[in-house]
């Protein structure tokens, strides 16, 4: 492939292009300002930019396209040629969904109004995008991503667009990557029983069941039913679980919701490739989710897809979420990528960030594993504010200064070559997330608006389980993570679907377990232990599979909490109260620690060079001492003005919500 994905960036003609990109919407900018705006972008230090290519903007009537003849701002070919003339690389995102705060999210209205295209809810109503929160300026019927009529329309759009793009692919042209659809996930109405119950979706659901079970006998055995054909199977429309026997039917629907997303993203990627977009990576951006219905590991494994990223819009109080998502990308994907890293904000968001907040969030993301990003938006446009460059091509100095310094820092240190090297991986148990999704209700339009407490959306099931299914942020895994952070041990995150080759990167893996877990996932993790890894699990020991049928895999080796040797590694079952003791015994040593546990540290290395990140995610200034062995010098790389030097320890002062970066040198 002329452009290949590597752990540091995209490789073109043997050279790595680090993905430090920014979004520019050509059709929203005056054509005669394009050159000046690209000048500004390059002066800030960017050599990669990104743009959506909006379907509805170009296909102005069915089959009629405007590529600049009627509105010169829509001259995509001229924009591509301009990028090439200036040696600017380009990432393109042609949808079909793009959002971009466009009316109708970039879909042509006639497509949305075709009843064959429209998704249906569990109540058999339409699904309007306004069902979940606020998407101004106009509600529209959400398309079903299982609709064949929808794919016929998308095919028409791609037929018109792809030949144009194919003329500009790298290495000869400027386009180095393309995105398949955008934040595909039922238009944010992602709860298990919300949607999609359209006829085409139900057909796809039944295909999924046939694929999963192989034949009807197996399905009837699992469901305790006597269906005569798959066509008779109707999906659950709310949580109606009374006994364990009801679980397979519900869990399969939850799994289907994941499948529809993967199937549609892969199908759209294949449609792009069939139309000539070959030789460059195709990626997808997840909005923010890392549990059902978004299965990042399986999406990453789709043959049609090269790469999965996750978008990030957070304020400074969201540090915990930033760290979690970046650690997850680092654990689950080959090149941790944020295709939309908040740079300014959409106009209907409640909290436009200050430059100081953007600095804290961006550095926090880099600290915890971010390797590639696209600042969304680098250039303002309608319905967006707070970017470094205005739509008139002028700078917003306070924002522009931040990103100019950031690019200078990244390029000075060649940051893309640096690596965190965590030896510990914490795994979310994917099946626990599915169970939580299954045991939920009130997936009705607008229910999110009424200020109802989250517990009202939960269904309490009495299935005779021994261990509670924890909420996110509670339970064994949270206790593990807290212990790691208190001890300044760096770690990655992923989920129990993670592939064997990625598991093998870690010497210690912690997995949250309860009564049930998929047997294949257990076997893969056991194989990791046999090959020399240490698998730590708790608080429960699974004795059921994910559909709550009897199944023992881990349990074959351990009857009670404790440790057992397996092959060249070991398996430890540990309850929450004994986690600290076990961790003390097995955690790898750390090179740096602080007196103040609220401070977070992360070490990034490249050959003999080391960059130490220190974050204060609290709302008060912190003064502490940084401990290490021997004598060291710390040259400021970001956020401090004077070098630190000391034997064994140096003082560290961190303002509230700040990140400092130091080049650590052994004297």
């Amino acid at each position: 492939m002329p452009v290949t994905l590597t752990p540091t960036g995209l490789e073109i003609d043997g050279k790595i292009v680090p993905i430090y990109s920014g979004a520019v919407h050509y059709w929203r900018l005056e054509r005669d300002l394009w050159p000046a705006i690209l000048d500004r972008i390059q002066a800030l230090g960017f050599s990669v930019i990104e743009t959506y290519i909006p379907w509805a903007i170009h296909e102005t009537a069915p089959g009629r396209y405007d590529w600049g003849a009627e509105d010169e701002r829509k001259d995509l070919e001229a924009f591509l040629s301009l990028c090439e003339a200036r040696d600017v690389w380009l990432i393109v995102r042609p949808g079909p969904l793009i959002n971009a705060e466009l009316t109708n999210f970039g879909f042509p209205e006639w497509v949305l109004l075709d009843p064959q295209v429209q998704a249906r809810t569990a109540l058999d109503s339409l699904h309007l995008d306004a069902a979940w929160g606020l998407h101004p300026p106009y509600q529209f019927p959400v398309p079903s991503y299982a609709s064949e009529a929808f794919y016929r329309a998308v095919g028409g759009w791609f037929d018109a667009l792809c030949p144009l793009l194919a003329r500009h692919l790298a290495p000869q042209g400027c386009i180095l990557a393309v995105q398949s659809d955008n934040e595909t996930c039922y238009l944010f109405h992602e709860q298990a029983y919300a949607t999609d119950y359209s006829p085409d979706s139900l057909r796809l659901y039944r295909d999924f069941l046939a694929q999963h079970y192989g034949d009807l006998t197996a399905l009837n055995a699992a469901y305790g039913r006597d269906y005569l054909s798959f066509a008779e199977v109707e999906p659950p429309r709310d949580c109606a679980v009374q006994t364990r026997a009801d679980v397979p039917w519900h869990i399969d629907w939850v799994a289907y919701k994941e499948y529809q997303i993967r199937w549609s993203i892969a199908r759209i990627a294949a449609m792009l490739r069939e139309r000539g977009l070959t030789g460059i990576p195709i990626f997808h951006d997840i909005a923010y989710q890392y549990s059902t219905p978004l299965d990042i590991t399986r999406l990453q494994a789709e043959p049609e897809l090269d790469w999965v990223g996750m978008n990030l819009y957070q304020n400074k109080e969201g540090y915990r979420s930033v760290a979690t998502r970046m650690r997850f990308l680092a654990g689950a994907t080959p090149l941790p990528f944020v295709p939309e890293l908040g740079c300014g904000l959409w106009s209907h968001h409640p909290c436009t960030p200050t430059p100081e907040e953007e600095e804290f969030v961006t550095l926090s993301a880099l600290m915890h594993g971010l390797k590639a990003f696209n600042l969304y938006m680098l250039v303002e446009r309608e319905r967006w504010q707070g970017s470094p460059i205005t739509r008139h091509g002028t700078l917003r100095p306070e924002y522009a200064d931040l990103y100019q310094r950031l690019l200078a820092f990244l390029n000075r240190y060649q940051f893309w070559k640096f690596e965190r090297q965590p030896k510990v991986l914490a795994l979310f148990n994917y099946d626990l997330g599915r169970y939580t999704a299954m045991a939920s209700t009130l997936h009705y339009a607008h229910a999110d608006l009424y200020g109802l407490p989250p517990e009202l959306f939960e269904v309490e099931l009495d299935l005779g389980l021994r261990w509670a299914v924890p909420r996110e942020g509670e339970g064994w895994l949270s206790a593990l993570v807290e212990e790691l952070e208190t001890r300044f041990v760096d770690y990655d995150l992923a989920d129990s679907h993670l592939t064997a080759d990625r598991l093998a990167r870690y010497s210690l893996i912690g997995l949250e377990t309860a009564d049930f877990m998929n047997a294949e996932d257990q076997q893969r993790l056991l194989a990791y232990a046999r090959a020399g890894g240490h698998l730590l699990l708790g608080p429960g020991m699974p004795y059921l599979d994910a559909a709550l049928r009897p199944c023992r895999v881990f349990g074959e080796h351990l009857e009670t909490p404790g440790t057992v040797q397996i092959g060249s590694g070991c398996l430890t079952w540990v309850e929450e109260d004994t986690l600290p003791t076990i961790l003390t015994k097995h955690l790898p040593p750390v090179e740096y620690r602080c007196d103040q546990p609220a401070v977070h540290l992360s070490l990034h290395r490249n050959n003999g060079q080391a960059l130490l990140f220190a974050a204060n995610p609290t709302n008060t200034s912190l003064e502490t001492r940084l401990h290490f062995s021997g004598r060291r010098t710390f040259d400021p790389a970001w956020g401090a003005s004077q070098a630190l030097q000391g034997e064994g320890a140096v003082p560290l002062a961190l303002p509230a919500y700040s990140v400092q970066i130091w080049e650590a040198i052994h004297d």
Partner: protein, 277 residues
């Protein structure tokens, strides 16, 4: 009132940070208020499904009979004095709200009219959602009907502007251009050729702003300048007229109106002081 193809441009980040709190449609619909200690009873046509206390979580200690009279139940629980609000919600009602609001694409409704429909469906007289104390029916004294009546009576093309000042600087500099009662363009003072430091809370700046608006925007119909504390009071004051009138006397608010005679009453009843009536 929101045009489906509105233009929202040239937004200074500070103004947008300060107006962001208004972009939450739920706050205009819901009875539950953030931070409020509430009790929520979810039932399915009488059968109790879940009882949740916002402070202590799921309440399993409640031995409630099936809900026969949701209003009586809410009143009796509220009378205990343990909660600031008691909600008795029929799950089927929430389903019905969703079903009815999404029965059709609703392309005839603007987005705000769509959410108003959701509000009306939720707070119908069916006892599907009972709240004690009840939903007030307005937000800080503002109602959809009042705003719409005002917008509908503006000239065919009109501009409204709001300047809110904090410590001598513009905290909010908002410009709305309306056409036939619909907001077509949203912008901020950044769209105007203002000199640095020119924007002040003063009568002189009010006149300057009026003049500047008339160029790139439709003719101004109303401009209000006030201090941040007055803005906060005005938003929630029961008597908005008295609030602004007092502020003007203290030099903390200035305004200018250019409305047709027949529009004035609607505007006065909505936001303006008694003195201009």
């Amino acid at each position: 009132m929101i045009d489906p193809h509105w233009s929202v441009v040239d937004l200074d980040p500070r103004t947008w940070r300060n107006v962001g709190r208004f972009f939450d449609p739920g706050q205009y619909i819901r009875a539950a208020q953030p931070g409020e200690h509430g009790l929520f009873i979810l039932h399915d046509a009488g059968k109790i499904l879940r009882v949740v206390d916002t402070q202590s979580g799921v309440r399993r200690d409640f031995d409630l009979p099936p809900v026969a009279d949701p209003r009586a139940l809410a009143h009796s629980l509220y009378a205990r004095g343990e909660w600031q609000r008691v909600h008795v919600i029929n799950k089927r009602h929430l389903a019905q709200v969703a079903r009815q609001s999404q029965a059709a694409p609703r392309r005839e409704l603007t987005l705000d009219a769509y959410y108003q429909l959701v509000y009306q469906l939720l707070w119908d007289e069916s006892d599907g959602y009972v709240s004690v104390p009840p939903h007030p029916g307005h937000w800080g004294g503002w109602t959809y009907a009042g705003l719409k009546q005002f917008a509908d009576q503006l000239p065919e093309e009109a501009t409204l502007a709001l300047g809110v000042f904090e410590a001598g600087t513009v905290a909010i500099g908002l410009i709305l251009e309306l056409c036939a009662g619909t907001i077509k363009r949203v912008s901020t003072f950044e769209a105007l050729p203002l000199n640095p430091g020119e924007a002040q809370l003063s009568e002189a700046f009010l006149e300057r702003l009026w003049t500047l608006l008339a160029g790139p925007f439709a003719s101004p119909a109303g401009v209000l300048l006030c201090s941040q504390p007055i803005f906060e009071q005005w938003l929630t004051a029961e008597n908005k007229a008295a609030c602004l009138n007092t502020a003007r006397q203290q030099g903390a608010a200035f305004w200018r109106l250019s409305l047709r005679e027949d529009v004035l009453p609607a505007f006065q009843s909505l936001v303006m002081p008694q003195s201009i009536r």
